[in-house]
């Protein structure tokens, strides 16, 4: 078998020369992880990866579009150099994240990356990038472990602008228990790592605060008839239903809740994933009274409506997923970081040190983003984790304008 022979031979010959990162001096910059040199007239490359196909398409596309708007608002340039935004599809799977990150990393001119949408992709993708000295700024990846203090070395170059699940859950439980004083909840997740994790964090906090979880249910992301599962929940008579599921499922849930005896007046609390105009269309009149958790800040209330308008003009539809604003902020952090560390030489070429960029990103303080003031912790959590509960008050699809619809009800 010459197949065999040649293959084994070749395999044994492979001595992987995965050039280790080492200190490098180019132009005016010396950096311990290497320097990216951008010739005059060439663009600065920033990568992006998110779910552009598969079940979470809406989220991913909204995130990347948000990032593009940030770039546009920034003037499309850093220190006079045009910025090119290369995006790749990471789906919402580990292997998608791996392949997309590998593809992005293949371009050695790449300076930084925003994304991905999902924690499963970040878990694999972020180390691939950082092992080559490329920092990445997560958008929808909310799993707490990614920025835990004991995270593996591969995540030392990973930041995220979205707050992690634990903080979000803590806030929501606080509202439900302390503010509303409700004693029992039902939870629903859709089998995705994101919603399941959030639900578990919520349940844990809720029980710790003396509440009772009377039903812990799950559905499939493509289920359309949720009335049976709602009937089951109705039998347990919860004071509130907590469910961070995505737009379609939330729409079905809100619309069908009214058809199930005993749930008509049970309030529903949703997650950031549905903070978009699209939920109004998906849920129709049933959206009125629906509450979700979202950013609390002044900036967000002021700037998000015009962001949505700009988004619609640019891409034909309003953001379809809740994380577009964080896509915007992730890009903003990246651009600011680049601006801070890029150095030009006499010939007009630009130099960016990789370690320097990473450190600059982690040093982000009080950056006015779309979701609030962004300040990065030593672990890479940059999200303005100041939350609010928002309530929808109008069912007209064009009425989406945070501040009025939905309006902030707490704090």
């Amino acid at each position: 078998m010459n197949w065999f022979g040649s293959t084994t031979l070749a395999a044994s010959l492979v001595v992987i020369a995965c050039a280790p990162l080492r200190a490098e001096t180019l132009g005016p910059v010396t950096d311990e992880l290497g320097v990216v040199k951008i010739l005059k007239g060439q663009p600065i490359l920033i990568g992006g990866y998110a779910s552009q196909s598969g079940g979470d398409t809406n989220q991913g596309i909204a995130e990347l579009h948000g990032a593009e708007l940030a770039l546009k608002d920034f003037g499309g340039k850093v220190r006079g150099f045009p910025v090119k935004f290369n995006t790749e599809d990471a789906q919402c799977t580990a292997e998608g994240g791996q392949t997309a990150a590998t593809k992005l990393a293949a371009n050695r001119q790449l300076v930084a990356v925003v994304g991905p949408s999902c924690s499963s992709g970040a878990r694999v993708g972020a180390p691939i990038l950082w092992n080559l000295g490329i920092p990445s700024i997560g958008i929808g990846a909310t799993a707490p472990g990614l920025t835990a203090t004991d995270r593996p070395a591969g995540f030392k170059g990973f930041l995220r602008v979205v707050p992690n699940d634990l903080k979000s859950a803590e806030f929501q439980v606080d509202w439900v228990r302390s503010k509303l004083g409700l004693g029992s909840v039902a939870t629903i997740h859709d089998g995705s790592p994101y919603t399941e994790q959030l639900v578990r964090a919520f349940e844990k906090d809720f029980v710790a605060k003396g509440g009772k979880v009377v039903a812990s249910e799950a559905i499939g992301p493509s289920d359309n008839d949720l009335r049976p599962v709602l009937t089951r929940i109705a039998g347990r008579k919860p004071d509130l239903i907590f469910t961070p599921v995505f737009v379609s499922s939330t729409g079905f849930l809100l619309r069908q809740k009214g058809e199930v005896a005993g749930l008509k007046d049970t309030p529903v609390l949703g997650g950031e994933g549905v903070f978009s105009a699209n939920i109004i269309e998906a849920a129709g009149p049933a959206v009125i009274g629906f509450r979700i958790v979202g950013p609390s800040t002044e900036q967000f209330s002021q700037r998000f409506p015009s962001f949505v308008k700009a988004f619609e003009t640019e891409f034909g539809e309003a953001p379809t997923g809740g994380f577009s604003a964080w896509g915007y902020d992730a890009m903003l952090v990246a651009l600011k970081g680049g601006e801070a560390v890029a150095k030009a030489d006499a010939d007009g070429n630009l130099y960016i040190g990789r370690k320097a960029l990473r450190d600059a990103l982690f040093a982000t303080r009080d950056l006015p983003g779309l979701t609030g003031k962004l300040t990065c912790s030593a672990e890479g959590d940059c999200g303005a984790s100041i939350y609010a509960i928002w309530e929808f008050a109008d069912a007209s699809p064009t009425s989406f304008a945070p501040g009025t619809n939905p309006k902030k009800v707490f704090p």
């Binding site: 791996q98 790592p193 399941e196 799950a218």
Partner: protein
């Protein structure tokens, strides 16, 4: 039912060709419609960001141009077949181009001046701006430019049709080479960068987005010239069997060398291709040899992956802590057992019903894996993480390239086993079942046993692929085991050529490799994937590398 499957009924519908003018308008309309669809679906804007030739022509422009060139070409060919002179034929090509240009320009004007966006999201001002080369967006000047360009492109396409066959091929090959270089810029740039002595060429050939103008000219002319030279220096035709052998050797060389000299991304893609080759070889036993249509194949992939995860992870759910090298045969065996268990009940089900039954089983497995009920054992939606990488005497496999060679070696092994099975009493029994189940059974073949064996072996191969997959990614999540994988593997077999081992490799390269290389077109890559499936089946119904009919050379 007869085993002679040449159906004799003759109700194929032939379209009658009309007058040359009508044909030209038709060709133009097709080209125009394709261009409009391309634009309104949003692909234009995405592909407009990528240059084929740096700062000269974008990918989107190239695609639209190709539509119109093709339209003009078709119109001219049609006219020439009716006996038109070259000049007239070019005129018809221009007509086709004019029609295409008019349609496209009209559509753009419509987009610019009528609000279509509530229904068609890509009908945006950005699109209008992107196709405006002169004048104000949406103006008559801009439209006129499009119409003129269309007419010109149609004429050029027609002129190409008037060339001698060898020159036409040369032009085509030149263009294809250029397009390939531009489209797969990253691959070729990585190749240049890593080839000793050629690294200096990289910045000369490739810009950030595409090929540099000078390099473009060199590539196009070079490829065209090479084609001409080869055409005229053709030696007496080589025997088909020899050619196949040469192609086979080339394929192997390609498989071994290319990932070695390109970058990590190509290795990663090659690795995925390798995994699919493993899986497809498994399905090839089931479908290609025994004729069992299986749409739940992903279940065995999942079983293999989860076995590896539960055997090699540091997760508390892990049952044992084995090394990769012990877990691999274990995963293969457990997948085989799963195949046996699934196969037992379903294999009395025939034909398309089997497809549905297996699809059902695959979905059941997926739901079970993701479920909260199984979470204590399988990790639920959070999957199982921290799966140890394989190591050999202190040397750990962790780059995609290393995994690629692991997959390649396994694929070679599995290919060898497949080949040996195929050419044995077992393989003959499978083929007999595929040809005519009843007759095979009447000859003493125990259908259930034979099918079960095929199913089990197929499942084992898929399980092996799953195990490598889990070790490569380092984690398993239920979301990785979608029905789409089963469909993909099925498509690989049919596109490659049922029952053909080289076909499996070619099919995987095309259906896994290409979409991965097109990853940057995100939301559109599955659109292209779908189109590729349809087009391939139309051009090569038997697959890209069909199995050779096994005629023996005893007589001639």
């Amino acid at each position: 039912m007869s085993s002679f499957d040449i159906v004799t009924s003759s109700f194929r519908i032939h379209r009658r060709r009309g007058h040359a003018v009508a044909e030209a308008v038709r060709a133009g309309a097709f080209a125009g419609a394709a261009a409009i669809a391309f634009a309104l679906v949003g692909a234009y804007l995405i592909m407009d960001r990528r240059f084929v030739v740096e700062d000269i022509i974008t990918l989107a422009q190239t695609v639209v141009l190709l539509f119109v060139l093709g339209g003009g070409h078709a119109a001219a060919r049609s006219a020439a077949r009716d006996g038109a002179t070259a000049a007239t034929a070019i005129g018809f090509g221009a007509l086709a181009g004019l029609v295409a240009g008019l349609l496209f320009a009209a559509a753009i004007l419509l987009v610019a001046h009528v609000g279509l966006r509530s229904h068609l999201v890509a009908a945006s001002p950005m699109l209008v701006r992107a196709v405006t080369f002169l004048g104000a967006p949406g103006s008559a000047v801009a439209a006129a430019v499009l119409v003129t360009a269309g007419t010109a492109a149609g004429s050029v396409g027609a002129a190409a049709a008037m060339l001698r066959a060898d020159r036409r091929t040369a032009v085509l090959i030149g263009l294809a080479a250029l397009l390939g270089a531009g489209l797969f810029r990253d691959v070729f740039a990585g190749l240049l960068h890593n080839l000793p002595g050629l690294a200096a060429l990289e910045p000369m050939v490739f810009g950030v987005g595409g090929v540099t103008p000078v390099a473009a000219a060199v590539i196009a002319v070079g490829a065209a010239g090479l084609s001409l030279v080869l055409h005229h220096r053709r030696r007496p035709p080589i025997a088909a069997s020899t050619r196949r052998r040469i192609e086979g050797v080339l394929l192997v060389v390609l498989l071994v060398l290319v990932p070695l000299v390109t970058d990590a991304f190509v290795a990663q893609v090659a690795m995925l291709v390798g995994l699919y080759v493993l899986m497809a070889m498994g399905l090839n036993i089931e479908l290609g040899l025994a004729g069992l249509v299986d749409l739940g194949f992903v279940a065995f992939f999942a079983v293999g992956a989860y076995t590896m995860a539960l055997a090699c992870s540091s997760d508390p759910r892990a049952a044992v802590h084995l090394s990769f090298w012990l877990a691999l045969p274990l995963a293969t065996t457990i997948a085989a057992v799963a195949g046996l268990l699934f196969g037992l009940p379903v294999l009395r089900v025939r034909g398309d019903y089997l497809a549905m039954a297996t699809l059902g089983l695959g979905e059941i497995v997926r739901v079970l894996v993701v479920s909260d009920a199984m979470k204590p054992y399988l990790g639920g939606s959070q999957g199982i993480i921290e799966i140890a990488r394989p190591s050999l005497g202190g040397w750990t496999l962790d780059t995609p390239l290393q995994f690629y060679f692991l997959a390649l070696i396994l694929a070679a092994l599995v290919g060898l086993v497949s080949w040996r099975l195929q050419h044995s009493r077992i393989g003959r029994a499978w083929l007999a079942i595929r040809e005519d189940e009843d007759v095979a059974q009447a000859l003493g073949i125990d259908l259930v046993a034979a099918k079960l064996l095929a199913y089990t072996v197929g499942a084992a191969f898929a399980g092996m692929a799953g195990a490598v997959f889990a070790a490569l990614i380092g984690s398993v999540y239920p979301h990785s085991f979608q029905l789409a994988i089963s469909i993909n593997v099925l498509a690989i077999l049919v596109i490659g050529g049922l029952g053909s081992l080289p076909g499996v490799v070619v099919g995987s390269l095309v259906l896994i490799g290409l979409p991965e290389l097109l990853r940057e077109f995100g939301e559109f890559r599955y659109l292209f994937y779908g189109i590729a499936l349809v087009v391939t089946m139309h051009l090569k119904t038997e697959g890209l590398w069909p199995a050779v009919a096994r005629q023996e050379a005893t007589d001639a």
